[in-house]
Symmetry: C2
Subunit: 404 residues, 2 copies
Amino acid sequence: MFKINDNYLKLPGSYLFSTIGKKVREYKAANPDRNVISLGIGDVTLPLAPTVIEAMHGAVDEMASADTFKGYAPDLGYEFLRQAIVDNDYKARGADIAIDEIFVSDGAKSDSGNIGDIFSVDNKIAVCDPVYPVYVDTNAMAGRTGDYIEAEQKWSNVIYMPCTAATNFAPEIPKETPDIIYLCFPNNPTGSTITKDELQKWVDYALKVGAVIIYDAAYEAYISEDDVPHSIYECEGAKACAIEIRSYSKNAGFTGTRLGYTVVPKELKSGETTLNSLWARRHGTKFNGAPYIIQKAGAAIYTEEGKKQTKEMVGYYMQNAKYIRDELAAAGYTVSGGVNAPYIWLKTPDNMTSWQFFDNLLENANVVGTPGSGFGPSGEGYFRLTAFGSHENTKEAIERIKRL
Amino acid sequence: MFKINDNYLKLPGSYLFSTIGKKVREYKAANPDRNVISLGIGDVTLPLAPTVIEAMHGAVDEMASADTFKGYAPDLGYEFLRQAIVDNDYKARGADIAIDEIFVSDGAKSDSGNIGDIFSVDNKIAVCDPVYPVYVDTNAMAGRTGDYIEAEQKWSNVIYMPCTAATNFAPEIPKETPDIIYLCFPNNPTGSTITKDELQKWVDYALKVGAVIIYDAAYEAYISEDDVPHSIYECEGAKACAIEIRSYSKNAGFTGTRLGYTVVPKELKSGETTLNSLWARRHGTKFNGAPYIIQKAGAAIYTEEGKKQTKEMVGYYMQNAKYIRDELAAAGYTVSGGVNAPYIWLKTPDNMTSWQFFDNLLENANVVGTPGSGFGPSGEGYFRLTAFGSHENTKEAIERIKRL
């Protein structure tokens, strides 16, 4: 008799964004006349950059002719893309990453979920609280998190690092020593960041205790301040303790186009075994590459035109971020984030819970955001708004919130 | 101190096709003047169908405009694609599959590797021998296969079902009862098939012993005989015991385009838990959908023009299959497969081992095939040739083999 993975049964409710999607669909079905604006799920709205579109048309044409047709891609991804990554995302920032340390994938969500495969079940993870749910849920599925304690909204075998107003929404080195540390800067959901000096302390700590850092840098393109690192490999020693995950979803609007990559440096070892060899094995056995057309689209981001166009895209969203932050602050809300990240982290007014504020906003302002408590217990009483709407919708949404 | 997944260290050598790729690259580097023809890795060579190309250009254009831009896709895949699947791949074959039992993915390799996530480590798998390596390797990575016994080229905790000339290259119900049974028909690598009546016996057996069948139907488009089932759901009771994995790689040439799907019927349960809900949870948490552009390409396959064009593509390859089979048989080789599948399974001459024949073919005929032993111990003494080359290359390769 076959047996299921019982760890799945321990997961509370459904994936956060599925729950939100369902609530919104139900509200819209019941109120078809209402114009609901979403500043909720971190989905982008601007079309792809012209250079990217052009590259994709070109790649589609290549697939139409036997001479230029492309079948299975190289295991790690096409060299034209990996070389562009090495040169632009690393060499240009003083980080020495080799082309065979880059693994092109279908996105940061898959990678941040799948990376757990190469680690033993017997590892204790540390996560920020609040946190992007995928890190915790995928570790729960793997049986690494113990049991879910409903009353605390916490897993029994996870080290939570509270990121609250008291810590300026940054994590502090935990008292208990973790084996795997998930860090995400600029942070989702709080929009907070830490400086390079602060990140260096995490690298030093990981090296000291033999922990590995899973560093999610999906929002690096939104960094506007000079002392905030774009990659963990800007820190000394990081190649011996950190895996970095990158996404094209937010910097180039690839949420529906699906492309990302993960860096696993060869210096990162357990005994004599490099994690690079383990991830290469997983990548080659359980994945068959991102589509050629999409990898060509990714490479186009790194051309001069591509860089210019995606920078404009990021600039557009950051105008929204500034607008949301400034307007809500002026209206008396307590806000943070939005300076180096497309997320604004908002304290709910009148001691509302996060979900109360969600329902209030959906029903009375027809605006969708994300309840902070969905990201972890320390997110309770907070709310995430994203800068990924159009200027018009963002303005309209904020006007509606101010009228609440 | 972090701990790696030690199961990875038990894996012998590298993934079969990576090893072949390396050997071929080295030979080509040492012999740059030789024209090496590959009938090895199951990669296609014909360009994508015109209708598919047109659909992709259209979808790329949609991504260029804010009005038609697509961000994150629905968790299970776009309805336009899933509905086409339901109607064409199932309803048309008398199988009643619901739209929310279809999960669109980036391909059958990912799905057949990832499906193990929803099962406990404590399940005993049964596989055909020879077999597509991904089933075994991914179970080994999950710790489900025991230890690798080098001398036998077998895992200690796997039930092997020999598919040999004696069994007409089909598996027989194993003596020991498995929990999870991997079946692939038309078969990779042997090209063999079984009739609907024979498949019904497997379904009945699985229902009787409480096993689940992972049914890989990636090659169903190559079926030419009437009594061979295209889907396991043509068999009575299969929805209560089988998961089916489908690919667009071979029927529509999507090896570098990446699209597939998996069917998890809601009748398939462990106690009260549907496997559909578990896979939905995995799909929604560790995956973020196939690109919109690629899903539109997939839907184009199901249009009248798309069906006609992909059928021609399959017909082209099947001409190769017939040619390889007939010519090698006439030259005295013992061959099977190639009637309902794009693979020809060849007995190596002169008692050569599979790898000896591989080296002989590469060095003396400059033709690349796949050693049967790479698919399992019962594949020793056999060799797989694929029909995915051009007519010209296939003809040239076979001439060279005949001259050996």
